[in-house]
């Protein structure tokens, strides 16, 4: 589903739990979950290559913030980017086709899982160098203000990304530009406790991550990333504020990834099974579903229907990807630059 309209958020205010959009969000998060499970299966089958990083367990962080945006706002993220694409309304089939390296993929199969990109729906990538995209997000925010729009940027990154230089340079520049009302960007720390196998205590001298952001005069707050009501609540307020002021804001979403860092992270020697189990008790989808059942009388059959739909959507996406043709060979040489593109080695030869 596409990003919600402004009204919806006010609706949410009017009726916190039972507005139709919460059901939509449950549907969206369920789709993300089923989609990610499908990617893991297809990876094991060898249909998906390279690295694969899924969002399972963190769904509320994607859906809770993105649903608070306008159609024309834009999003940057790291390589853990499937959920954001789905939340922004990208076609599941095209996403899966991208993961399959097919010509029908979002980026014609040239980017893959780490580089999902769908400008039409506001997704400006999908980047693989940890922290490398934060500066891009700050620059994009400047551009949107410079052009006189009220569009804003949301930039997702992990706890581990906070230790690299480009995070620091991006934050300080965003802070400075924010003083001029020229940097409407919301930085979302996807604090899932680990940078690959390194826990926060072991990678960050100061473990209170949002406190670190104060060094840039950027207001920041923590939110329970497993509770979409909490995430969306903060997001509605922050989105409004950032849109009004043109100043950056940082939200630390405390969450947890239920799967390994990537599909290759099977042993997970850095965390105990029990720890994972404990966190699975706070499944963001279950939290939303239970609330809707208890408070709004969402029926089990509706939940079941929703889940069947999501499973079918994921299956449809896989089928579409499966049946799509491979990337066109000539694509190899396209999109390198707009002009003066590459000369194929063979043609560069002299007889």
């Amino acid at each position: 589903m596409a990003k919600a309209k402004k009204e919806s958020s006010s609706a949410a205010v009017a009726d916190p739990a039972c507005a139709p959009e919460w059901t939509d969000l449950l549907r969206q998060m369920t789709l993300i979950r089923r989609f990610e499970e499908a990617t893991e299966r297809e990876f094991r089958k060898g249909k998906i290559g390279g690295y694969l990083h899924v969002y399972i367990g963190q769904e509320a962080v994607a859906s809770g913030v993105i649903s608070a945006l306008n159609e024309d706002d834009i999003v940057f993220c790291g390589y853990r980017d499937h959920a954001q694409a789905l939340a922004l309304g990208s076609d599941p089939g095209k996403i899966m086709a991208e993961l399959f390296g097919k010509g029908s993929g979002l980026s014609k199969g040239k980017g893959g899982s780490m580089h999902l990109f769908d400008a039409e729906h506001g997704l400006y990538g999908g980047y693989g160098i940890v922290g490398g995209h934060l500066t891009l997000a700050a620059g994009a925010a400047y551009a949107l203000r410079y052009q006189g729009t009220d569009r804003i940027v949301v930039c997702y990154f992990g706890d581990g990304a906070m230790n690299i230089g480009s995070f620091h340079e991006a934050m300080n520049m965003a802070g400075l530009w924010g003083h001029q009302g020229m940097c409407p960007v919301i930085f979302i720390i996807e604090n899932n406790g680990y940078a690959m196998g390194t826990s926060i205590e072991r990678h960050s001298a100061l473990t209170d991550l949002s406190a670190r952001v104060r060094a840039y005069a950027i207001p920041t707050e923590k939110v329970d990333g497993q509770d979409i009501f909490a995430v969306r609540g903060v997001a509605d307020r922050v989105v409004r504020q950032v849109r009004e002021t043109g100043k950056p804001y940082c939200i630390e979403a405390v969450t947890y990834r239920f799967s390994g860092h990537g599909a290759a992270d099977l042993l997970q020697p850095y965390r105990a099974k029990e720890e994972v189990e404990k966190h699975r008790q706070r499944d963001p989808i279950a939290i939303l579903r239970n609330r809707l059942s208890e408070v709004c009388g969402l029926a089990d059959e509706d939940v079941k229907a929703m889940d069947d739909w999501a499973t079918a959507e994921a299956a449809k996406a896989v089928k579409f990807a499966e049946e799509s043709p491979l990337a066109e060979p000539h694509e190899l040489f396209e999109d390198v630059v707009a002009e003066h593109g590459p000369i194929p080695v063979r043609e560069s030869e002299h007889e």
């Binding site: 990109f117 990538g125 980047y127 490398g132 500066t135 340079e169 001029q180 999109d335 630059v337 707009a338």
Partner: protein, 328 residues
């Protein structure tokens, strides 16, 4: 036509484009209030204001990365690196982001941005501040790399860079900033990328170079013509990526001899690509192996006398010409 310095030609190109298109802006360290350490941006803050002439913190990665984001959203940022040596700090943002986002997005965005600044040795700035980066960047697809050697090219190529759709590494020669030359007044005068130029015609030896070394080669060519009647054809590559070797091949077909001149270290330097390409294309035409004139393979020393020994001078080019003529 009017006479302009290389420095003023660069400033004119930027200001004319900023007048023409409000999407063009410039950012860098001390380019505004300070007016630029090389005064390239003198007067620009006053004229365009702080939203379009952005003084940045010392954060080259931040400058380059934010420029990528701006460019993806439709602006045309120019990033002034105080010197290109500092851009190494931004290598990831340039090589892994600016140069690749068009490709891995399947062509969903243009990335019209220019990273420009001076490079090269010669004024005792020692090891960290005297480097040249043409081969460093030109190996990577996804960007254009240019190194103009005249005021006219500086202006025309910078305009092409600003009006383009891709990241451009615009390498200026600090040593040429003061150099004067005729520059067309037409505000739409541009010089296309990927077009080498015959800077001087000659029938005996082809000298291939760019930027300051091209100027040095021209001086040597005049000297050799006057003193020894040796006529060198000097080719100014102007663009390193994409390389336009056709005029070089045509010249070598005529002269059968080639010398490539590059300021910096020989191993894996730009001259290697040029020499290798010439040999691939003109093997049967060549009467001698292509000779590479380069700087010594050492970090740049501070001491004036050592620095002079580390960089190529006229006599080195002369020597190269004699060598390919088997006259030495």
């Amino acid at each position: 036509m009017s006479e302009k310095s290389y420095r003023d030609a660069i400033r004119d190109a930027m200001m004319e484009e900023m007048d023409r298109d409000t999407n063009v802006l410039i950012m860098g360290e001390d380019i505004g209030v300070y007016e630029g350490t090389f005064r390239i941006t003198a007067g620009m803050l006053k004229k365009y204001g702080p939203k379009r002439v952005i003084d940045t913190p010392i954060a080259e990665a931040g400058m380059a990365g934010t420029a990528v984001g701006m460019a993806m959203l439709g602006l045309r940022p120019i990033v002034e690196m105080m010197t290109m040596n500092f851009a190494i700090v931004a290598a990831d943002q340039i090589l892994n982001h600016a140069a690749k986002v068009r490709y891995f997005s399947g062509g969903q965005v243009d990335v019209p941005m220019v990273i420009r600044g001076p490079q090269g040795a010669g004024v005792q700035l020692s090891a960290q501040h005297s480097q040249s980066f043409e081969s460093f960047y030109a190996h990577f697809p996804g960007i254009h790399v240019v190194a103009p050697g005249t005021p006219s090219d500086a202006k025309g190529m910078l305009k092409t860079a600003i009006r383009g759709k891709d990241p451009v590494i615009f390498l200026e020669s600090a040593a040429l900033y003061g150099m004067k030359g005729e520059v067309p007044d037409d505000p739409d005068f541009t010089v296309p990328f990927g077009k080498s130029r015959v800077a001087r015609e000659g029938s005996d030896v082809t000298i291939v170079s760019y930027s300051r070394m091209m100027q040095l080669s021209l001086a040597v060519a005049e000297k050799l013509s006057k003193d020894e009647g040796i006529e060198c054809e000097v080719i100014d590559l102007r663009t390193l990526r994409p390389l336009d070797m056709e005029p070089v091949y045509a010249s070598v077909a005529k002269t059968h001899r080639a010398v490539v001149v590059q300021e910096q270290w020989k191993p894996f330097g730009a001259a290697a690509e040029i020499a290798a390409s010439i040999t691939e294309a003109c093997f049967d035409d060549l009467d001698a192996p292509v000779y590479r004139v380069t700087g010594e393979d050492v970090p740049m020393p501070y001491a004036r006398n050592l620095e002079l020994l580390a960089t190529p001078h006229e006599e080195h080019i002369v020597r190269g010409v004699k060598k390919v003529m088997y006259a030495e």
